[in-house]
């Protein structure tokens, strides 16, 4: 062995830290703010923009704002003695009009119950951790609209007759004294009609497909007629609520009513239209395509005009539809068409093997769609559906053009009050309404983005 000294370090040396210019906050500032001359100029420009926009906004809405007062004199610079920013007492004075419209003060608790119930049902639906999603969805999309409808309108519609009555068999039914809470004529008619319908369906099924098909046909009729009976019963029964006409509704109430009914109606119809568009039956396909492309190709406001001014001309003489309901019909038309395109995207993303697999295990069209294709397709397009809801929510403002006072319309009406005519009233009102719209839309878009991320992770296995 030679006695050469060889030094072998048994440990790694600590690496030298990178130069100051290339680490920590200095590096970050160089990379993100002040790297090159154009970067510096951009940063200066950005800071200048911030300086121009943010301090005046804070100054206007918070620092110089007036917070209390009873009329316009509270917000006039001449009376206050300093430059006046936002005139918040204007909003406090109009807040009931903005939230309830002209809904009678004594009945506003009903609107509050509807708001609270909606929030209560929606919250667990959007939170991922909460179980019973299916039950929750049925409650929100199926039960809640009926409850809200009865609460808001007052229910007690005193239905007169069902199918047989329209066909002219009125005389068959016994006359009942008026004032009875449930109309027995209607319900006798309903039960008889249902039985007749079931018998008819069973008979046709027996002729076309043999005796085995009778049970299925009758069951199909029952699954339509029983839930319908429950809905009609809720509308018919007198709960002792004061009726409130829809022309008294307004403000946020109308905005939310239109948005939620648009959402609940457009989802099932959109799915049906999307299926129709991909159907192999030529007439169904053509009708679906024409329907979807027509309503998507024209501006939303023309759809509302169509529903408000043109549709009544197409209805039988003497049949009038409530103004709000007309707008809702218009909303349902275009919302379904938009929804159909979103759902179609999902249907197209499902590989052909899924359809073939479902058919290979013997599923017919209905079960194949319900059990195999739609669950996967809808899950894929949930973010798209939520984005669609954002668009629908923004489009609710358009009803003010057909003289229905939604939040924006109520705000616009409030601007005309001479009691509150000050130089800053308009900016205050737009700031407040803008904040409400922004909170709703921004919230939904964040939710859709989070959902997209989660689904993306689930897709990537």
């Amino acid at each position: 062995m030679t006695s050469e000294t060889i030094f072998v370090s048994s440990t790694f040396r600590e690496p030298e830290p990178p130069p100051v210019s290339d680490r920590g906050p200095v590096r970050w500032v160089r990379a993100h703010l002040l790297g090159t001359v154009p970067q510096v100029l951009l940063t200066l420009f950005g800071l200048w923009l911030l300086y121009v926009v943010v301090p005046p906004l804070v100054q206007f809405f918070l620092v110089d704002a007036v917070w209390s007062g009873t009329n316009r004199t509270a917000c006039l610079p001449a009376d206050v003695g300093h430059p006046v920013g936002a005139c918040w007492p204007f909003i406090w004075a109009k807040i009931n009009q903005l939230i309830y419209g002209f809904y009678p003060a004594g009945e506003r608790w009903r609107v509050n119950v509807v708001y609270a119930l909606g929030a209560l049902l929606l919250l667990p639906l959007v939170l991922q951790q909460v179980p019973y999603k299916r039950l929750n969805a049925i409650a929100f999309f199926g039960v809640y609209p009926v409850v809200a409808f009865v609460l808001l309108t007052g229910g007690n519609f005193q239905l007169r007759h069902f199918l047989l009555g329209y066909l002219g068999f009125d005389a068959l039914f016994p006359r009942v004294a008026p004032g009875v809470s449930v109309s027995w004529v209607f319900w006798t008619d309903y039960v008889l009609s249902s039985v007749l319908l079931a018998a008819l369906a069973g008979g046709i099924a027996r002729v076309v497909a043999g005796p085995d098909a009778v049970r299925g046909a009758v069951r199909t009729v029952a699954t339509i007629m029983v839930p319908l009976a429950l809905v009609l019963l809720a509308v018919d029964v007198n709960f002792g609520l004061e009726p409130v006409e829809t022309r008294l509704w307004g403000g946020l109430l109308v905005t939310l009513v239109i948005a939620v009914s648009g959402i609940t109606v457009s989802l099932p119809f959109g799915i049906l239209l999307a299926l129709g568009r991909r159907s192999s039956v030529p007439l169904v396909k053509i009708c679906s395509i024409l329907f979807i492309e027509f309503w998507r190709g024209v501006p939303v406001i023309t759809v509302l005009f169509f529903a408000t001014y043109m549709l009544p001309l197409f209805l039988p003489d003497g049949m009038t539809i409530d103004g709000l309901l007309r707008a809702l019909v218009g909303v349902a038309l275009f919302a379904s068409a938009y929804m159909a395109e979103v759902v179609r995207g999902g249907l197209q993303a499902i590989p052909k093997g899924q359809y073939e697999g479902a058919m290979a295990v013997g599923l017919r069209y209905g079960p194949m769609m319900r059990l195999v294709v739609l669950p996967q397709a809808l899950k894929l397009v949930i973010p798209g559906i939520v984005n669609n809801f954002i668009g629908l929510f923004k489009d609710t403002t358009l009803v003010l053009i057909v003289s229905i006072f939604d939040l924006l319309g109520a705000m616009r009406a409030a601007f005309t009050d001479p009691n509150w005519a000050t130089p800053t009233t308009l900016f205050t009102g737009f700031g407040f309404a803008g904040l409400i719209y922004f909170v709703f839309c921004f919230g939904m878009s964040r939710y859709s983005m989070a959902l997209e991320k989660r689904l993306d992770r689930a897709q990537r296995h």
Binding site: V208, F294, I301, T302, M310, F314, Y437, F438, C441
Partner: protein
């Protein structure tokens, strides 16, 4: 064997089975067809009854009748003695004008903001994100009303108009510099501003006033020169592309075309002795006279539509650029291309493939949203026709159908053009 099959009673029934797709399809079609026929017939019958009961005329004869209302912005000659048909045309042109300008503004703004959102600079990135979130999450009608009722109404009266031009700009710069103690810089600027002519563009609460060019005799030659320049530029571009594909040599197409388009009309104008002069607006009494005045409704609608749509375009541009993989720019850099050519020749052409289809639908949305101008009284197709004309004649069916047909036609034409473009830029796969 085959005889036995035919006589099997079970087979006879199967021919009528509900599970037979052919039978099912024809039954569904017959039922749907009957329902449609009934629907159309009952609509028709009801409409007939309702119209005669309400005393509303039907047919398109009303288009020839005297309109009797004035329109605040007309691109073609119009007065209230002209027909509803003429008013329809005026409205259509107004719609196309605001849609065309809106598309251009929204595209420029949207591309700028979209690129800014991808910037490394955090301040710019945050500002661009804030812009996108605010514009996309507020209803377009809200934005139109905001610009019209709050912003434009708060502008000064005509007597205190804001002048737009070099003089006010330098004047403001000069006084600003003087105010922060840089008088030695500010004073000459103010003096320079005083030497400049008065501004020719004014903004006030009655809209935007600007000079109107008046074309005198011989202006046709200038127009001809412009057309010639455009044609020559087009030919140069074709020749340059062919030469590049054959030899790889580059030719400065953009600069040469720009030069042609500027120089040729200038030469023509010099030849005929500059027959164009400007009709500059000037204050007389309480309002401006002369020049071209743009109504505030148009300004509000244009601003709201283009800023709203720009938010969506920005997101489309951002995702389009992100869709081009990083390897593309790395490969371009390693071939020796600098940042500019890399963007122009490699990144943008590929990003456009992703950008164009959603961009088309945004253009269509902007065009359709221009009908919201009715809320502020901008005389577009919808306001004139479905608004005023419907009120006066009551012929809801014809008028709403015509309005819808126009928007549908615009939609169809746009999507045809964009489909053609999309096919041209689509990836050529082997």
């Amino acid at each position: 064997m085959s005889d036995a099959r035919l006589s099997d009673p079970a087979l006879g029934r199967r021919r009528w089975s509900w599970t037979d797709p052919k039978l099912r399809s024809s039954v569904i079609q017959i039922v749907l067809g009957l329902v449609l026929v009934w629907l159309v017939w009952s609509f028709y019958a009801n409409a007939q009854g309702n119209l005669s009961r309400l005393g509303i005329a039907s047919g398109f004869g009303f288009l020839e009748d005297r309109a009797g209302f004035a329109i605040s912005q007309t691109l073609i000659p119009y007065n209230e003695n002209m027909s509803y048909g003429r008013a329809f045309l005026v409205g259509l042109l107004n719609t196309l004008l605001v849609a065309f300008l809106g598309v251009i503004l929204a595209t420029i703004l949207g591309f700028l903001v979209g690129v800014a959102r991808l910037s490394k600079n955090v301040v710019i990135k945050a500002l661009a994100s804030a812009y996108v979130e605010v514009t996309r999450n507020l209803p377009p009608l809200f934005q139109i009303l905001f610009w019209y009722l709050a912003v434009l109404a708060a502008l000064p009266t005509p007597r205190q108009s804001w002048g737009v031009g070099l003089q006010p700009l330098f004047g403001a710069l000069g006084s600003g510099l003087s105010a922060i103690g840089l008088g030695f810089l500010g004073a000459p600027l103010s003096a320079f501003a005083a030497d400049l002519g008065a501004p020719a563009v004014f903004i006030n609460n009655r809209g935007l006033m600007m000079p109107k060019p008046i074309f005198g005799e011989g202006s046709g030659l200038i127009l001809a020169a412009l057309v010639l320049a455009l044609v020559v530029s087009f030919l140069i571009a074709r020749w340059a592309r062919k030469r590049r594909e054959a030899t790889g040599a580059q030719f400065p197409v953009f600069w040469s075309s720009l030069g042609l388009i500027i120089v040729l009309p200038l030469i023509a104008a010099a030849l005929v002795g500059f027959p164009v002069h400007m009709d500059v607006p000037h204050l007389r009494g309480f309002n401006f006279q002369g020049g071209l005045s743009v109504i505030p409704e148009f300004v509000a609608l244009l601003l709201a539509l283009s800023t709203y749509t720009a938010g969506f375009i920005a997101e489309i541009v951002r995702s389009g650029i992100l869709a081009v993989s990083k390897g593309q720019s790395e490969a371009a850099h390693s071939l020796g291309l600098r940042t500019g050519p890399t963007l122009r020749l490699v990144i943008i052409p590929q990003a456009m493939r992703v950008i164009v289809p959603p961009l088309t639908s945004q253009y269509l949305n902007l065009t359709k949203n221009s009908s919201l101008g009715v809320a502020v009284g901008y005389p577009d197709l919808f306001a004139i026709f479905a608004g005023t004309t419907l009120n006066q004649t009551g012929q809801a069916i014809e008028i709403i159908a015509m309005t819808m047909a126009v928007y549908l036609a615009i939609s169809i034409v746009t999507s045809l053009i964009m489909g053609w473009y999309n096919k041209r830029v689509a990836l050529v796969e082997r």
